[in-house]
Amino acid sequence: MSPTEGPNWLARVRGLATPREDTPPTPIPGDEAAETLDCHLDGARTTDGQRLVIHGWVAGIDTGTLFLADADRAGTPRRLDPVVTPRADVSAHLVNLGRRVTTDRHGFVATVQQDEPWPSMMRLCLVADGKASWSPAFEVKIERIPLMALLGITIAVARQCSGRMSEAVERLARPLVNQPPAPPTVVEVRVFEPPGAPVHVTPRVSVVIPFYGEGHYLLDHLVAQSRAPMDIEWIMVCDDPRLAHELTQIITSRRSAIRQTTSIVYLGANGGFAHANNIGVAHAKGRYVLLMNSDVYCRDFSFLERGVSILEQDQRTGGVGFSMQFEDGTVQHDGMTFRRVPWFDDLWASEHPRKGMPHDWPAPPESNVEAVTAALMLLRRADFADAIVFDPGYIVGDFEDADLCLRLREMGKTIALVRTDEIWHLERQSVRHIADNDGRRAITLLNCLRFNTRWDAMIERDHREQGRES
């Protein structure tokens, strides 16, 4: 599908996400007289040694284009796309030096990448009106920190900006994440058949459960098999190689209690929510696929019959979601709607109505909704002949479900929600391990931008037609 046009600033962000053609400066090697740039590089941080987040200040940064170059000015300087921040302390410093100061906008943070190792001595160069001003050569001490901490820094910087936070995060954080990540290799598939049962029976439903961070949930799912219908298969996707041993140990310790065919698909690396589910679906044999998060608990499985019945009776329905509770009996999920959220620069984000309120499901027991969570979602496998259910361009497990629902709706299908008392979702308890708050927020914002880039116009149109609030 083609991206739709969003507001002007969104288009601008998209433009910034791709390299711009600019004329690099043409310094004269050894031209010491050109070392006139008032600037300082405060620090440089990296996770992988290639992608650097640098920060410092440059006087007059708004007047030109900033480059980072080797100290000897050899090679092509890297054009920077800096996010500019106010630095009143730098203004005071410049005044002390006798410079004329008209703004506090001197600070900058930029993400820059190269494949080769970074040199220890570098220079900054500001090109304005065709003239290059160079800094003296300085030593750059590069600090290695975890990716999530690095992403968290981008949020901290974005908060200081006068402009849109999402724009700053797009420029600083997007280059730090692999987009989209390559699918991980399937290293092994182990199939566990129930004792004495006939093998190779075509299941009606394939339940796909990815595991990341916590493997103990597998035991709960294996115990749940005694309550589940017999014509389903379970596909557990180990999306976290650290869990492989634990998952194997759990299932091999209770082979005698397996009630339905159960596979564990071991991935060679963490591929993320989308890849893990897509790989699980690629291994599915059922006519229907039930996507389930590992931290979903089902008291019984009558919800599944209701979901299958909807898909069997109404070909226009593309996906079925289910209402779910938290462990304290409050609403975890009752369908999703979209709303522009001020904390994300008025971008569209998913809203979960009544989340956290005591559950008392509204009538009717089944209805069409804008979107549902993929934490528990029933689909027709035939609708995904290429087994690409989720877009792996989203990071970690955000917005993929909303994106999927809108793709189905774009295909002319509807999304149904089945209300039931039998399901709990202990949400975010496996994702919690992934990141600190700011790192997580940066990722959510990147996902939100991707989602809005694609769906802004369609949601806007739908809401307008249906007279909904934005």
């Binding site: 310790s253 209770r254 202990l426």
Partner: protein, 419 residues
């Protein structure tokens, strides 16, 4: 009728109340013609002393030792379900039980209940001995941080006690445990208090009966000692049980600090307390210091042989049970009642239920050394006196045994035999 009594330990090896109650029941069942009980006790492999999963305690064919596979203390389940199944299969093939009566599930895992049901298709009874289904904190229902009494488990509150486990994990724990309990035909609670706690937690009240533990058939109150056989210059208050942070020995020792000296001079505290050496050093030091600094005479005798208990009880004027957790139905209360010793008991849980205030003894405010001191002062100064009527153990045991037989369906079995 073949009845397997399955206990988490053999009382000759591990003398906790649950193990002793289970073994007493086994001994009583052995006295019934037509009844073929077998006692199966969990044991360490070293206690079995050969490399089989099972052994016979002192060579007795009706007292088996069993070393089950490892156990998950959080979820109360076996971590090796399939191995456990093999063990249960062996037991079922050997015992062919009509009834399996569990006295506890720790060390086995709750999945053992469903395995016996599935493989033996027998009546399944579970006696509850504390609150381990409800509470991850050693089944005590007290807060981890300050040992405050806890009256209700919820995922958020349990997470506050154990931040390393999410609220969701506690939710799943409860669900998983509930699922594992489904095969149980009948639950037995030795106290109404424990029953009510489990009903409030979610157990079907129609599936749980209150039946007191039995004391061994051989338990006898010794003849009353002549007046000069006890020390008349001091009133003896005896503590019997483990010296750990839940049993309240420090409350008793602290109470002495609050006694006027002329009262303290008339008091002797005797501690028959086990396992002090296994406690945290801080607690050991506190007990040692409290004994050393006590204003009254305090004697620490260490653990006692259970067969000596009646005589030891006869040697004290009052028994004190100052537990700061709820307790269930402490056997030592029954034993003191049989001997006719008045009891000073915390006013909570199973203790408040089993000791009738002013009849079998006196209640004091749980955890309050001041209130306990006031009660002791009142007793020593003879302002308060309680003369309990000794419990008729034979009658009580007979009634409790009948209650168990009803749960086993013994009458129906006998009728079938007769026809």
């Amino acid at each position: 009728m073949r009845v397997a009594i399955i206990s988490h330990g053999h009382p000759a090896v591990s003398a906790g109340g649950g193990e002793r109650a289970a073994y007493s029941l086994f001994e009583h069942l052995k006295t019934i013609p037509g009844m073929e009980p077998v006692f199966v006790a969990r044991a360490d492999p070293s206690e079995i002393a050969h490399d089989a999963w099972f052994g016979a305690f002192r060579g007795r064919p009706d007292e088996l030792l069993w070393a089950p596979p490892p156990y998950d203390w959080f979820r109360r389940m076996s971590v090796s379900h399939d191995v456990l199944r093999m063990h249960v299969r062996s037991l079922v093939d050997h015992l062919r039980p009509d009834v399996v009566h569990f006295h506890h599930y720790i060390f086995f895992g709750l999945d053992v209940l469903g395995l016996f049901k599935e493989l033996a298709d027998c009546r399944t009874i579970l006696t509850l001995h504390e609150y381990a289904l409800i509470c991850h904190h050693d089944g005590q229902m007290v807060k981890t941080r300050d040992l405050r009494l806890c009256s209700h488990a919820s995922p958020a509150e349990c997470h506050a006690c154990f931040p390393e486990y999410s609220a969701g994990r506690f939710f799943l724990r409860t669900r998983l445990i509930g699922h594992q309990l489904e095969p149980v035909d009948r639950f037995v609670s030795p106290s109404k208090f424990l029953r009510d706690r489990h009903v409030a937690w979610g157990l079907d009240p129609g599936r749980i009966s209150v039946v007191e533990n039995l004391l061994p058939p051989g338990f006898r109150a010794p003849a009353a000692v002549a007046a000069d056989g006890t020390r008349q210059d001091r009133i003896r208050f005896g503590f019997f049980g483990q010296l750990n942070r839940y049993k309240g020995a420090l409350v008793l020792l602290d109470a002495v600090k609050h006694l006027p000296q002329e009262i303290a001079d008339q008091v002797e505290i005797v501690l028959f307390g086990a396992k002090l050496e296994q406690q945290q050093q801080e607690f050991q030091d506190a007990v040692t210091r409290a004994i050393k600094d006590s204003r009254a005479r305090v004697s620490l005798f260490g653990p006692y042989q259970h067969g000596d208990l009646p005589a030891l009880l006869r040697g004290v004027n009052w028994m004190v049970i100052p537990s700061t957790w709820w307790e269930n139905s402490p056997l030592v209360i029954q034993e003191a009642r049989v001997v006719g010793v008045p009891i000073l008991a915390s006013n909570i849980g199973g203790m408040a239920e089993k000791v009738r205030d002013g009849v079998d003894g006196l209640h004091f405010l749980a955890g309050s050394a001041l209130d306990l001191a006031a009660k002791i002062e009142s007793i020593v100064s003879k302002r308060t006196s309680v003369k309990p009527v000794p419990l008729d153990l034979a009658a009580q045991n007979a009634a409790m045994l009948d209650a168990h037989l009803d749960l086993y369906g013994w009458s129906d079995a006998r009728r079938k035999l007769a026809t």
